[in-house]
Amino acid sequence: MLRHVLRRVLWAIPTLFGVSLVVFFVTTLLPDPAGEDADATLSLLELDPFRFDELDEKRRQHFLDLPRFFNARPADVRTRAEEALARVVAADATSTLAAHRLVRMGGAALPFVLPKLDNLPPTQRGRVAVVLAPIAERMGLGDAKVLSDPEQAALFWQRFWEDRALDFTSPAVRRAVHRLVLHGTDIREKDLVLVDTFALTETIAAMQTTTDREALHRLTSLAVHATRRGHRITPASSDADVERAISDWRAWWFIHKGDYEQLDGAERVAGSLTETRYGRWMLGAAKGELGLSTRDGEPITRKLFARAPLTLGLTALAMLLSYALAIPLGVLAAWRRGTAIDTTLAFVLFGLYSMPTFLVAQVLARTPGSWSLTAPVVALTVGSLATLSRYQRASMLDVIGQDYVRTARAKGLSAFRVVVVHALRNAMLPTVTLAGLQFPALLGGAFVVEEVFALPGLGWETLRAVETHDAPWLVVIVLVTAVVTTLAILASDVAYGVLDPRMRESFGRRGRREVAA
């Protein structure tokens, strides 16, 4: 029995993996919500840089800048900086965009840009140096006049690198951040401002470990200063604010760390899989972060936990109600087989059985009066009630025809006792096993019922997602239904094994034979 359960669970893992791959592939066929028209993007950058950043951020939040499943050249800060530099030097149509990116990467990109300045011809050197001006401004160095003149700017940056190359090393920054956390001083903070985004790796790592408000204040201020986004934590912030700010920084870092961090050898190899849309999504999922909804930007995980209880509760209630009604009805019909009761029941149940859930729901929704959860549960129950009681009747008839029932009757037991005590236990088996298959059906029904009664459950949310092509939510809902139904089927298998020793035996045998083979 245990082996059977284990086998099913083990099978479920690759199956879910496969399903996620397929669904994910289908979602990538959807048009890019932020638009991928390169020319339009470029002109937008000149017209409205803020709007551009917003769109760009949205694309990156959904990893649309990455390939789907395989990344032959995973990009890190080094490749990005070098590419941007080459494009600025080439001064072609994309150089504005490259310059914008370079400024965003900031200090982290400098170790890959500044040493190369010496080898460039003077005009190109000047062009690059002018492009870098906003970084110096962020660091609080130089004055605008110097930085906007190509020749002087080039000189400034050359001197800058001669003076400060040693500051741009991880050990130095790590030490500096460590000291800032231990005894925060303004001087230490100023040192870190001077390396700009180069300090982000350590800053954000330190945010996760320290709980000291003062240190957090300094760390978040640094990060905000370097990235021009995000939330500061002040010594007066509430615990919830601190929690939210830190998780926001963590999520941001998860998306953007490729702009600031260098991949080492092993990471580069793994990057061909992880630096993809699917890879990033899976990495996030492993941490319980299922991405952001494209509809309202809320985290999918939070939405899922907010919506699921209603749907699962609705389904469970409907399941309970239909079993509670179906078993007695089925037994009654079988017991009074051929009588008017049986015929009427068969007639009514057949009608209910052919009744679409959404129609029942719609009829009930029109019925005046405040129903709260009663009407949705009743609407959901109708279909499965009919199925289950028809099953129950059939299996009861099977059991009643058996010898041991006749024996019990012959011993002089009352018909009631025979039916309820002797026959029912065996006759319930097939019906109970059916629960695993009823569950997916009810879940599908619940989606419709929620929509009709405007209940904000998974189904309601899914229909909104369908309207807005919210791919991240749709992927997750498919996987969640798959997991839930797999669990339901597994549970009904286990229930069968518990209720029927013969099944337990046969599960075990099959398992052993397969191991031997």
Partner: protein, 411 residues
Amino acid sequence: MTERTTPPGEEPFDGAMPLQTRKRSVAPPPSERVPPSMPPPALVPAPEGTMRQVLARMRRSRHAMLGLVAICGLFLLSVFADLLASDLPILCRVQGTTYVLPAVTHPAALAGWDNARVTAEAGPGGFSLAPLVPYGPRQTASGADVAPLVAPSLSRAHPLGTDAFGRDVFARLVHGARTAMSIALLAVLAFVSLGTLLGALAGFFGGPFDGLVSRIVETLTAFPTLILVLVVQALVPHPTTATLLITLALTRWTEVARLVRAEVILITSQDYVLAARALGASPARVLWRHVAPNARAPVLVSATFGLASVVLIEAALDFLRVGLPGPVPSWGEMLSESRDHLAAWWLLVFPGLSLFLSVVSLNLVGEALRDALDPRLHAAVGGSGAAHAAGDGDRPTIAPSSTAFDGTTHA
């Protein structure tokens, strides 16, 4: 069909048609007692005989006949929808030209016309034979006589009322029947073909391919069909009727594949198939002459229930407004309109009733077919019609395999 004359002990017991084969093998007429290697004399082909027997059994069931009649009626309704309700006449003579069924042939001269205009501008010698209800399913309120949300009345104009756009409910109902029937037939055709193909290949070749197909079947079964179709429909960039059909086919083929695969495995392991192969029959011949006749019946049952489930799913999708794009008349879409106009009971009752009755009829026929094919029932009652009449007919097979019980009604 030489192989059919093998000794009784080697008969296939496949659960689908044992009665027929047993009868033939227990008392084969002398003319049929020929060595297997000789060419067979002209026999009545077994499969047709089986189907005839099944039909004969079904004919004894009053419920099944009722359902069958209703479905035939529905088909006639959808085929002749243009005669019952259309914005153009059945036959007319306008300004010297005679048009037959202009609603179907779409003559350029009458583009944009309706019945009222045809009557008004028929000219000398012109006449027009209007359909039962002189409005088309997409014809919106235009004239003074067409108003939105007209209640049903016995007048000829709008016997079942109009919807919020002034479209005639009867016309939409009749044309909705056409939509439902054509979608259902096409989808069932598609998923039966797909399921048969994959099931037959999986059963015949076995090995890794079989493993793959079985796994896919198992995976797809774990999903609520409605949710799957909903999501796929949402993820397709430009949903059309074709994508809906493809989605339905891709999600519903598993049942047929499972049935066919089981049948193929069962039949190909029979000695007479071995004998046939030893005689040089190709795999294709084995599949066609031995497996296909046996698999036909369960697939037919599955297809019948499949029709019901596709009608339901399509209606549910339209009800949720994610189904057919555009102004295609459909029952589900009418029902979804009733959500916005609670007072207009006719928008709920008529399409709801049509949907319910067609699903009931399809289920009745499906159940009768399944009962007619269920050997246990006939072993017990000897195939008498009493079983169906007494309500024994709704005995479901106790296995999670039955098509009717995988949630199709919960759409």
